[in-house]
Amino acid sequence: MKTILKIITILLAAALVCAGFYLAVGSSPTSSSAGFDGRQPPNLQNGADGSSTRPEGEEGFHGERGEGGASVEGVLGMFGSLLKISVIAALVLLIQKGLSKLKLDKVETASPAQ
């Protein structure tokens, strides 16, 4: 029961964040041209039966391939993401180490005066 309440709390927080994004996109000047206010967006086409269809280019809706297994490009992309994470994490660790060294130096310079 307690866990369910916690899950509901997390979902409520997520719903608030979603509402924030929804409002942000809705109030942005680009949203009207993107068909956000219920109008048909320019990138959707009406079929013969009145149903709208998504553009199906070679690269899919947002740049990725539609179906299919793992491509070499995809695996390389995953290692690229791993590399990005490693570089950023290394930078943060360096900054953290530098800050703690500065703090230590400050303590060492302050202690002889006492």
Partner: protein
Amino acid sequence: MNTSSKTNLVLDLSIFTAFLVVSNPRMTGNSIHEWLGISFAAGIITHLLFHWQWLVKIGGEFFKKLFHQSRLNFALDALFFIFMTGSIFSGILISKDVLQLIGLQFNAGQGWKAIHSLTSDASLIILAAHVALHWKWIISNIGRYIGAPIRGLFSGKEQVPTARATQQTGSRTLASQPVRISERK
């Protein structure tokens, strides 16, 4: 919710791997990308449930002592939650397969696509910082639960990790070595 370090490590490594896979839709194809993205939310919720006590404790005293690593962690985690929620929400709105399956279709346009890629990139940066801030914990637990058993396999003996077996000193982890009675002098 009391969970062992092992459970936390398994969950965190699974979430990290899922993040790497889900952030590269070219690898999986669109359908798996969309479904994995949605199931990623379950992983995040479980992670939050595992650390609920910490969240409540730090959240409660967030503004009392502002400049502290726990607060930095909390702020980063909150940002990650916001960006990941934004990414999943915008992903659902621009999805082709998930919404089609349940018979829904939103006229989501370029704005949502831009938000999807922006929040995904921001999540990657914050995840990297999150990993860096928990580096010592990650390394010590990987050494304890993955490194030690592998070393045990090669040395011919199984090293069972216990709470007493590892003592963390700074960034180094000292694992106790088995001593044969016949070797004693």
